[in-house]
């Protein structure tokens, strides 16, 4: 199995705050497999978001080594323009609070990157239509049930972010992350603000994306172990800046790693015990 990310001895010391002990992330060494969904879980303050920022090349002041598809991220450190371009073309970010631009419609927000990359209107239409139909399938089905012609669907596309529901907002943010077909998706709590149905819908969309593009890699940072159990192919648990668990699914019912073998049924209690501070 080829790795998308190969991380060796990654460490970072957080700036010390007054009257607090200094917090150190790592040193961490692990790999993220290609064509799989990897969950990085941990409690608040475990360092998972910082790790995601390093993996997304949003920060470069770490020690150690990050290889992305064999490319040493170190080489992009000093080249700001190339770093931005690499991120734009290869990494899609799906963020907890979406952060859509409030003055653009859902469609404009989703296709913003394509416009920025000067794609022609025909190319934009071709790339977006298929994706929108999958992301907004619920609305299209509703329209069909009502016998209308894509009424709620087109309404959503032409709405401003402030005028749509939380689930729709998250899917629109997902559309922006996926529109340029990036080979790496970094999702930060993609189900964080959503109800169970919307959360599952969002995760299914990521899963579908991986099925369509098996060469891509999805990394989900989450504190929700339930979604990890259901959708992850690999789970890494961070605790106080260190890896406490790194396990991979070997078949539909079996997980291996960190010197243990564990079945699906025991996974929940195992992970819960490892994630707790005293675990």
């Amino acid at each position: 199995m080829t790795s998308s990310y190969k991380i060796s001895n990654l460490s970072y010391t957080y700036p010390k705050k007054q009257n607090e002990k200094s917090f150190v992330l790592g040193p961490l060494s692990f790999s993220i497999p290609k064509g799989k969904i990897t969950f990085i879980c941990g409690r608040s303050g475990s360092g998972k978001s910082t790790l995601l920022a390093f993996m997304g090349l949003l920060r470069t002041e770490y020690e150690g080594e990050i290889l992305i598809d064999g490319l040493n991220a170190e080489t992009l450190k000093s080249k700001k323009k190339e770093l931005y371009e690499y991120r734009l073309e290869n990494i899609g970010f799906a963020l907890q609070k979406g952060r859509l631009l409030p003055y653009l419609t859902v469609e404009e927000n989703s296709t913003f990157i394509l416009n920025y990359l000067k794609n022609s209107p025909e190319e934009i239409k071709e790339k977006s239509q298929n994706l929108f139909q999958k992301l907004f399938k619920i609305e299209i089905d509703e329209d069909k049930e009502k016998g209308g012609e894509h009424d709620s669907y087109s309404r959503i596309l032409n709405s401003l972010p402030e005028d749509i529901s939380g689930g729709q907002y998250q899917r629109a943010a997902l559309a922006r992350a996926l529109i340029n077909s990036p080979k790496i998706i970094l999702a930060d709590e993609p189900t964080g603000n959503l109800d169970v149905n919307s959360g599952e819908h969002a995760m299914n969309l990521l899963k579908n994306y991986l099925e369509e593009k098996p060469e891509s890699t999805i990394v989900v940072v989450s504190h929700d172990l339930e979604y990890a159990r259901l959708y992850a192919d690999k789970i890494i648990i961070l605790k106080k800046g260190d890896i406490s668990v790194e396990i991979e699914k070997v078949d539909s019912n079996q997980w291996e790693g960190s010197g243990i073998n564990i079945s699906n049924d025991d996974l929940d209690s195992f992970l819960n015990s490892k994630i707790k501070d005293n675990g």
Binding site: A53, L58, L88, L95, R99, Y103, I113, P121, D188
Partner: protein, 599 residues
């Protein structure tokens, strides 16, 4: 969204945040409005002052005279050169002569006839009413209509030319009337040139108004009477000083200078020349009282290596100048010359010296040698004056027949003049034109240069004042926009962060804010213009006009010229660009990782 993405994003954001945008636009408008009002007051005042100056004075007209003794007359070629160098509306070769118009009752009315051309700006200024449409006729003062019994149906008038008492009348069409009660009438330039030629001995075909050459049996007389700028008066024994007072009482004489104890140099008044008749009068006066001789002075003419100087057979100087031979007498030839004694090595008395003028060789007869150690050769003054006409291309010389005749190859229109009326296109162009003519060594007796300089001083003072306030407004505009834009950026730090996360570069993000600042600036200016045009309607009221001391009909002190508007526009674009650009410094400090880490 396609092209101009950053601009479109700026517009969409502005539209989305209408309330705050309107607030920012209002702030910019509040700063722009006083600037626009001040510019308009300056433009209005300058424009109205200029209008008043142009209406009430011939401010854009310069009367150009060649200097005394200058042989370079004003020709079509000269006028072309002026037109190429300056921004002139019209140049009218100036010819002025006295003539007469028949009156209803009593004697003929003495008039000054002045040359003009179709579209003369000065006549337009004088409220010219056109009644005819030709380039050959007369324009008359409105106030003289009654006196002259002008029939409004028949637009022909009898004009009487006068040459020393000899008169000729012709019927010519009336082309228009202008506001004046002076005894001035404008005649078309062509007609005035006929008049001039008739004065100089040509005849005029009454039916076709054509000049016929030669007019007289002697073609030389068709070249016109010779006129002189100065006269030398010689007397071998010193003059009595009382003569100076006597000469200066003569109204024609401008200056009388005692050059040596045997020579008076008289220079005539501007625009008046000495004629042969004057010389005879002066000579008889001096010869009876002082035993002096008057000889017209013609500036020397250099041919080959000799400077031909004017003299005459009566020149008393021969008594001390002549070393050998005889003084010029005109008995053998009109080309008799007295040459320096050094020439005796190569020439003897009665030898001929060939002097080349234009393409013709004139064989001058050596009659004597003088004792001065220079290249002067004394020749008869009239012959010298004619040779000068040959040099200028006006005449041709036949050295065999010793005759001068008019050069018929000269274009009629090229007949040179000494004075021209120059009409400058714009008032601002008058001072540079004035300086140009001064540099070219012309006299400019008629000009409104002092009034124009006053106008320019006021304009400069107002411009400086307005520019000073503009700089202050621009600084206020920059500071306000900078603070507001920085606040916008602070509030949008999350949006900027997410743009950076997805890979949008800083340059593009900054362009959005710079575009937004420019849009705010332009809309602010637009709003202030709308308010200005509402204020401008106040300028139409008499009360406001009297407040600004304006009594001109239809005047409005609030005028905004296009160049002022463009200047303000460019300034606002620059100011808002600068404020936008400076404010984008804040985007550099936004860390995209914070979007994930601080979530």
């Amino acid at each position: 969204m396609g092209r101009f993405l950053s601009l479109k994003l700026a517009f969409k954001d502005l539209k989305h945040n209408r309330k705050s945008s309107l607030y920012i636009i209002s702030v910019i408008a509040a700063i722009c409005l006083p600037m626009i009002v001040l510019f308009s007051l300056r433009d209005g005042y300058v424009s109205l002052f200029k209008e008043w100056l142009e209406k009430t004075t011939p401010a854009k007209q310069l009367g150009i005279n060649i200097k005394m003794g200058d042989t370079n007359k004003i020709t079509n070629a000269t006028i072309k050169q002026w037109n190429d160098s300056l921004d002139l509306k019209m140049v009218i070769p100036h010819i002025q002569r006295t003539g007469f118009l028949p009156r209803k009752k009593g004697s003929d009315l003495r008039m000054d006839f002045i040359s003009t051309l179709e579209g003369n700006p000065e006549m337009k200024r004088l409220g010219m009413e056109k009644v005819g449409n030709a380039d050959f006729g007369i324009y008359l003062p409105k106030e003289k209509k009654k006196e002259l019994d002008i029939d409004t149906v028949n637009h022909l008038i009898k004009v009487i030319f006068d040459r020393g008492g000899r008169r000729k009348s012709i019927n010519i069409p009336i082309l228009g009337y202008f506001n004046s009660n002076q005894n001035d009438a404008y005649l078309s330039l062509r007609l005035m040139q006929y008049y001039e030629k008739w004065t100089n001995g040509y005849s005029i075909n009454d039916n076709e108004m054509q000049i016929q050459l030669p007019a007289d049996a002697s073609r030389e007389s068709a070249l016109g009477d010779l006129v002189y700028d100065s006269i030398n008066i010689f007397k071998i024994v010193g003059f009595d000083n009382r003569i100076i007072n006597q000469i200066q009482e003569d109204e024609r004489i401008f200056i009388a200078k005692n050059r040596t104890d045997n020579l008076f140099y008289l220079s005539c008044k501007k625009a008046i020349k000495f004629s042969d008749f004057d010389i005879e009068t002066l000579e008889s006066q001096f010869s009876s009282s002082y035993n002096a001789v008057a000889i017209p002075h013609v500036q020397s003419l250099r041919l080959n290596n000799l400077d031909l100087a004017s003299s005459s057979k009566h020149d008393p100087r021969f008594q001390y100048l002549l070393e050998r031979g005889n003084w010029i007498s005109g008995t053998q030839s009109r080309f008799e010359v007295v040459v320096p004694a050094t020439y005796a090595k190569s020439y003897t008395i009665n030898d001929r010296i060939a002097l080349k003028i234009n393409e013709t060789e004139v064989q001058c007869l050596v009659v004597g040698f003088h004792n001065q150690k220079n290249d002067l050769a004394y020749i008869d003054y009239e012959t010298l004056a004619r040779l000068k006409q040959v040099e200028q291309g006006l005449a041709k010389v036949d050295p065999i027949g010793e005759k001068f005749e008019p050069n018929e190859e000269i274009d009629y229109e090229d007949y040179p003049v000494s004075t021209a009326m120059v009409h400058v296109s714009d008032l601002e162009g008058v001072v540079p034109s004035y300086d140009f003519f001064v540099r070219q060594n012309y006299d400019i007796p008629q000009s409104s240069i002092s009034q124009i300089n006053h106008y320019l001083e006021i304009k400069e003072m107002l411009t400086k004042f307005v520019l000073l306030l503009t700089i202050l407004s621009a600084i206020a505009c920059i500071l306000s926009l900078l603070v507001l834009m920085m606040e916008i950026i602070r509030r949008k730090s999350a949006e900027i962060g997410i743009n950076k996360v997805i890979g949008i570069d800083e340059g593009f993000i900054n362009r959005i804010f710079i575009s937004q600042a420019i849009i705010y600036g332009l809309l602010g200016m637009l709003l202030s213009l709308v308010i200005f045009f509402l204020i401008r309607t106040l300028g139409e009221s008499d009360q406001v006009n009297s407040f600004f001391g304006l009594d001109m009909e239809g005047a409005n002190i609030f005028q905004l010229k296009l160049d002022s508007l463009l200047f303000i526009l460019c300034l606002i674009v620059f100011v808002s660009w600068f404020a936008g650009w400076r404010s984008t410094n804040a985007t550099k400090n936004i860390d995209p990782a914070d979007i994930i880490i601080k979530n």
